[in-house]
Symmetry: C2
Subunit: 338 residues, 2 copies
């Protein structure tokens, strides 16, 4: 069990999730001596939970290459293995992201046709919510990876945002066809020519993410991670500026008391805990990564993402879309060889 | 003369700048029939201005490769040439960014030792301001380009932020040495080993930009452009959420009247017009790019950046720092050949 405040927030998050999902069962992997007293405090949760003891945990700074060699006794490994063995339907972790992805790929294996599983999350926008991937699993990508991300993100948006025909955009530094990198132009070309049943909108720019221009923002893991953290940082800076400015004036403090209910709405709409729980898409199983620094409300939301994904048959939809691309690639290869 | 609202905001911006910089002279390149009536409205500005007529302008969608072949009669070309010929000390444009950079490189030439000039701008942070480059001139970079950006950005921060010893960070997706791309690890290695007199802080992440962790954020033009636009979009989304929420409640509207003066402070601190004016660093001359959609206040600020850079001897400081890197490269090359 990982993250900055484990196991407390993990068990507390499960307490909240149990109320929302009364049919869920919880398997806790970690130090029994620490988990058992926390579980005892909630008889209803205890009744649908089991503890799987191990005193080994993946540390926050462990290298993925190292934990996949020597991490078989860790709570993370055992939790993923439980999914692989059919004892659990999905895994939620607030631990080391790189280690979680490396172990999940090794134990669960990627879906057929998927070269690189990706991290997929939700963003608030002016119009509602958007999906973005990859948020950091793959720092270096090629055009084919981006095409796979587009397919997976579109299926995810359909399942989790409930959009019937999600629109998809490739994150670039201009919307014209000639802009950006070779990789992006090639990915755009494949997406346009592969007869996918997809609302592909071409290139979008950084400010389109929060404008809500598309339902799915596709990018490499480097750019996606920087964009995600830059947006988080900008939001925090604004909140800090407002807080400090209001503190400096009695009138403003009175004013803020009057505005409090509507400010609370804005805070709730953009609360990072609401968007906690990024899905690792492209794996033979459900793996959800919670932010390491979240609280029990955020962790409960991450469990919610896992429950949603388990309830929906995302992977078979992804396989169906990939078949279109592979058919198109075969046609192109044949055209070249003729 | 370019940008969305030229020539009106350009002339109006110059009116504001003239008051701030009484010694400045203004050369307007563009359609005399349009510029002359605007200039007439301000006798003081007219007295220190000249109009250089041409009816050709670079359009917003023109390709850089095309304008450098056939754009010799455009206002942009003539303005850059005026700097090259010593008739003007610097050029400010709200026109097509790619065309401006391509022409400036061709006419002014990059500084000796600089492979790729970059676009350098300012960002608000929790602690004050930070410099970021490249904001979009070079979508694809190598490690040596990033090292040059670090040197140029550090000199820029010293000149324009007035920081005696600016700290420099490489934008990455984690702060550990093994994170990110090969390019970033190599750039970090060169910066650490080249005995530069530079406060190099290693890798930083997206949220460090607005935290103010470093004075200079170094990144490739693709990532920098996405980060800049993502931050702008996030700020606009928050402003829109607040505005809509307040509109929905009479109490909140009264509250906002009381808080208005402090809200105005926050708005002023993060006003994009305040940060308008990105410098093209690494050229034999001063070129400042204004946002195409800015107003006269924003354009006046872009003129201010040009005046500041002309007043300081940025380029000789850049050359001095580059000499350290080249000396180190020579040592390394010798070590390899032995």
């Amino acid at each position: 069990m990982g993250g900055d405040y484990a196991p407390e927030i993990v068990v507390k998050g499960a307490r909240l999730a149990r109320v929302r999902y009364p049919d869920a069962r919880f398997l806790f992997f970690g130090d029994e001596a620490k988990i058992a007293p926390l579980l005892k405090a909630d008889a209803a949760l205890s009744a649908c939970s089991s503890i799987h003891h191990t005193d080994q945990a993946v540390t926050g700074d462990a290298k993925p290459s190292q934990v996949i060699r020597s991490g078989r006794q860790t709570s993370m490994w055992k939790a993923i293995e439980a999914v692989k063995n059919g004892e659990a339907a999905g895994v939620v972790s607030a631990g080391n992201t790189g280690a979680l992805m490396a172990m999940a790929k090794l134990i669960m294996r990627p879906l057929p046709g998927i070269d690189r599983p990706a991290i997929c999350g939700l963003f608030p926008t002016k119009l509602g919510e958007t999906t973005m991937l990859d948020l950091g699993a793959n720092a270096q990508c090629d055009a084919r990876n981006l095409v796979e991300f587009a397919v997976m993100g579109e299926c995810f948006a359909r399942a989790i945002l409930g959009v019937e025909r999600p629109s998809v955009g490739l994150l670039n530094i201009g919307s014209e066809d000639a802009k950006g990198t070779d990789m992006l132009r090639q990915a755009s070309q494949i997406l346009r020519s592969s007869h996918l049943d997809m609302e592909f909108k071409g290139f979008i720019e950084g400010d389109d993410i929060t404008k809500g221009t598309v339902d799915v923002v596709v990018t490499d893991g480097f750019t996606g991670n920087v964009a995600l953290k830059t947006a988080e940082g900008t939001a925090k800076m604004f909140a800090a500026f407002l807080k400090n400015a209001i503190k400096s004036s009695i009138l403003a403090q009175i004013g803020m008391l009057l505005a409090k209910p509507v400010i609370a709405q804005v805070v709730a709409r953009t609360d990072p805990r609401r968007y906690n729980g990024a899905l690792f898409v492209g794996l033979n199983g459900v793996v959800v990564k919670s932010h390491g620094g979240t609280d029990s409300i955020g962790f409960a939301n991450a469990i919610g993402v896992a429950v949603d994904m388990i309830a929906r048959d995302l992977n078979s939809k992804i396989a169906e879309q990939l078949a279109h691309i592979e058919a198109q690639e075969a046609v192109m290869a044949e055209a070249v060889s003729e």
